[in-house]
Subunit: 97 residues, 2 copies
DNA sequence: TTAACATGCAACGAAAATGTTGCACAACGG
DNA sequence: CCGTTGTGCAACATTTTCGTTGCATGTTAA
């Protein structure tokens, strides 16, 4: 999941899709400094990580942001961050006592 | 930042450090199926991404979880998730009208 | 002082990620 | 029907990442 977010190009794709508009591969490739094929690959990664979904439309394949995907990543970090906070808090308390 | 989280070994290291206890490289290497050198590298990545800090202690180098690091990652995702939600909401509204 | 210990640095190898190009094919439009 | 368009697949090159091993160095403790 985080690995999918850990690439600059993919982050840019997610930002673009964040407008909510379904967009074709060609559309998504514009403005990016890589070829259509590279974008296709990245989209496949994002789809595998559940950050986007597809909808075929004639000869086009439009990709859409998947809200739940980001929510899940967000939640995962929230949980870990909370655990850390608790642990560090306990440790601090222990040292003070 | 996300790239640093996107590796299984590094995630395990973060979990271990999540106990709050500062731990040496040797300690962190135990239980992991890789060599000390590999762990050292991962720790360097985590430090560069601000997820951990060091404190030299004699001949040991102890690493500590850095709460703020996770908080920042968490916050970053929160912001993007919110933007997505807004955009998708507007789009839905637009379609319904 | 000297042996044991924790670590750093550098060289190297293997695997994965990223990107490209070339060709094929189905859908659309005049 | 035929050219254009949006895409898929496969082969390949390059770069990064991940891991190892070997040796050097500072610290500790008997």
């Amino acid at each position: 999941m985080f690995a999918a977010l850990g690439d600059e190009t993919r982050l840019q794709l997610l930002v673009k899709l964040g407008t909510g508009e379904p967009q074709s591969i060609k559309q998504l490739t514009m403005d990016l400094p890589v070829t259509r094929q590279a974008v296709t690959r990245h989209l496949r990664v994002l789809e595998a990580a559940k950050f986007v979904t597809q909808e075929t439309h004639g000869r086009e394949r439009r990709f859409v942001a998947r809200q739940a995907g980001l929510d899940e990543a967000h939640h995962a970090l929230k949980v870990v961050a909370q655990q850390w906070e608790d642990a560090l808090q306990r440790l601090k308390q222990f040292i003070e006592d």
